[in-house]
């Protein structure tokens, strides 16, 4: 069997905006099926990392490789076809389109028919359309949204909108799925369901998943390993249990005073 390239390799990526260094020497190698969490206080550079990976901005320095191919500076739609899909921090669904249409558009990534086929309604076009519809229905049902297929995206309740965004991203057939704060705005029950969903997506589709999340329970619950950013710098990298106890991480989030309190609580816990 050939040596399959890692789905995603980020090597020493730095992002500069004018004089501002939003991301410094970011490194990450993801293997197929891995669940990685990316955390950090607000403004730490997490979404910037996502934007660098998905081609929204070309990295100022460093390399991004998808399945072994260097994708620096390629347009987002090309990178998507190569295998990176994402959701957005502020949901970016196609609001006036139905749930089904939202997913169908993603199915088209890499479709073979063009305008000509559509205008002449060729046989090839019709079978492609049927294929796309079938696939879209499948993704909707995986996310439990089949009953919403004809509903306009903007009419869906918030939790379902987030699920729809994930369904849409999945429909592009990615190797790596990047979820940007998927649990934002959810209640605890929904968050538990989400964690289950993320794991089952990984199991069912065999892809690598990168999650940005602020809710510690969620991200530590799904991640196999985690990276912590602060002011663009990676300050910690490891298993969730190690990250939880890492003083640098705690300091970045909560400052020195909390560290004192936590130290006391931890030692109390340790002595139990």
């Amino acid at each position: 069997m050939s040596d399959a390239a890692n789905p995603l390799e980020i090597v020493n990526v730095t992002m500069r905006f004018g004089g501002l260094k939003a991301l410094s020497e970011f490194n990450l190698v993801m293997k197929t099926g891995e669940l990685v969490g990316l955390i950090g206080p607000n403004g730490a550079g997490k979404t910037t990392a996502f934007n660098a990976i998905t081609g929204v901005y070309p990295p100022t320095e460093g390399d991004v490789r998808v399945a072994g191919v260097r994708v620096n500076g390629e347009k987002p739609h090309t990178i998507c076809v190569r295998g990176i899909a994402r959701t957005f921090q502020n949901i970016r669904l196609f609001k006036q389109l139905t749930a089904l249409d939202n997913v169908r558009i993603a199915c088209h990534a890499g479709a073979t028919t063009g305008f000509f086929d559509a205008l002449l309604v060729t046989g090839r076009y019709r079978s492609e359309e049927d294929r796309i519809r079938a696939r879209a229905e499948e993704y909707l049902s995986v996310m439990g949204l089949s009953h919403r297929r004809d509903e306009l995206a903007r009419n869906l309740p918030y939790g379902e909108q987030r699920r729809l965004e994930i369904a849409r991203a999945l429909a592009t057939g990615p190797k790596v799925l990047c979820l940007d704060e998927p649990a934002a705005g959810m209640n605890p029950a929904e968050k538990t369901d989400l964690m289950q969903l993320i794991r089952s997506i990984r199991d069912q589709f065999g892809l690598a998943i990168l999650v940005i999340e602020h809710d510690m329970r969620v991200v530590m619950g799904v991640s196999e390993r985690m990276l912590v950013l602060d002011h663009g710098v990676t300050i910690a990298h490891g298993k969730p249990e190690d990250i939880r106890k890492n003083p640098k991480v705690i300091e970045a989030y909560l400052g020195d005073a909390y560290l004192e309190e936590k130290h006391i609580a931890l030692s109390q816990e340790a002595s139990k």
Binding site: F17, T47, N51, V56, Y57, F88
Partner: protein
């Protein structure tokens, strides 16, 4: 050499007009991110305001005082027009899609252009609307024979016009950079939401911006009409578009940019037309526009803004 100087002077003369009108575009774009299509027509309204005032204001003598009065009065009238346009056509659309406001702006522009082309409804003391035929703008100032030096002929009026335009621009610079209003205006142009949260009365600042821009356009209208003497309701159409190009050239949203852009455009037009004797005069502006937007969309003095995803 003579030719060069002649074109230079003409270019500056035309350029300052463009600059004055461009300032209105750029300031409004700065605070509202809207291209006020109707701005060129405010320039036209200014010219007509001057025309009507010159016809009705007391004495027949062409004096500096009278000319200044007419100019000032028409600036005030256009300021009011600008205020009304913003208040009733643009403010209700503040939170809608920008395209909606753009279409409305086109509507207002047409309303002015074609409204002015209707046959007169009011007959006395003035014939309003003026109708489609061009009107003769009276001589506001008789300054005597033109200057001549080095075989270059410069009408004295043009020199005065450039001086007045320059004075107005300096005045605007002072307002924008040295007064509280100006600072507030700049704050609103950076981020109107935050400016509002900081206690800046955003609506009033925006209204003020429109008033200011319209006043400058009016001045430009009167000055230009005073030099060329022929005005008609579509008189603001092409200069308006060109002034917009000037604003983009200089960097839309940048006040010094509008001035620079206006002068550069005026000079470019004069020199290209002068030396190639082409009939592509108007196309020059559009060509510059397209080149700027394709090559350096932020213009000469504009900032590059990165949109955050």
């Amino acid at each position: 050499m003579t030719e060069f100087l002649q074109h230079l002077i003409n270019g500056l003369s035309v350029g300052t007009i463009y600059a004055l009108v461009a300032l209105g575009y750029t300031m409004v774009y700065g605070v509202l991110k809207l291209i006020n299509f109707a701005h060129g027509d405010v320039y036209m309204v200014g010219a007509f305001a001057g025309y009507y005032l010159a016809g009705t204001v007391t004495s027949e003598q062409a004096t500096l005082g009278r000319a200044s009065l007419i100019t000032l009065a028409s600036m005030l009238i256009c300021g009011a027009v600008g205020y009304v346009i913003e208040r009733f056509a643009y403010r209700p659309l503040r939170h809608r899609a920008r395209l909606t406001a753009l279409i409305t702006a086109i509507g207002v522009s047409f309303l002015l252009e074609y409204g002015f082309q209707l046959d007169a409804i009011i007959k006395k003391p003035i014939e309003f609307p003026p109708g489609p035929s061009p009107r003769f703008f009276p001589v506001l100032l008789d300054l005597g024979d033109p200057f001549t030096f080095l075989d270059v002929t410069v009408p004295k009026f043009d020199v005065l016009a450039i001086a007045v335009a320059a004075a107005l621009m300096v005045g605007l610079q002072l307002i924008v950079y040295r007064t509280r209003f100006g600072t507030a205006m700049r704050a609103v142009s950076f981020d109107s939401n935050v400016a509002g949260l900081m206690g800046i009365p955003v609506n009033r600042i925006i209204s003020g911006t429109f008033v200011l821009g319209s006043m400058l356009a009016a001045a430009a209208g009167v000055i230009n009409a005073g030099a060329r003497h022929k005005i008609d309701p579509l008189f603001g159409l092409i200069p308006g578009l060109k002034a917009f190009v000037a604003a983009v050239l200089g960097g839309i949203g940048s006040v010094p940019g509008a001035m620079v852009g206006g002068l550069v455009l005026g000079l470019a037009e004069e020199f290209v037309v002068g030396y190639t004797a082409s009939s592509y005069r108007d196309a020059i502006a559009f060509t510059i526009l397209i080149l700027v937007l394709l090559l350096k969309p932020q213009g000469i003095l504009g900032r590059v803004t990165v949109e955050k995803v």
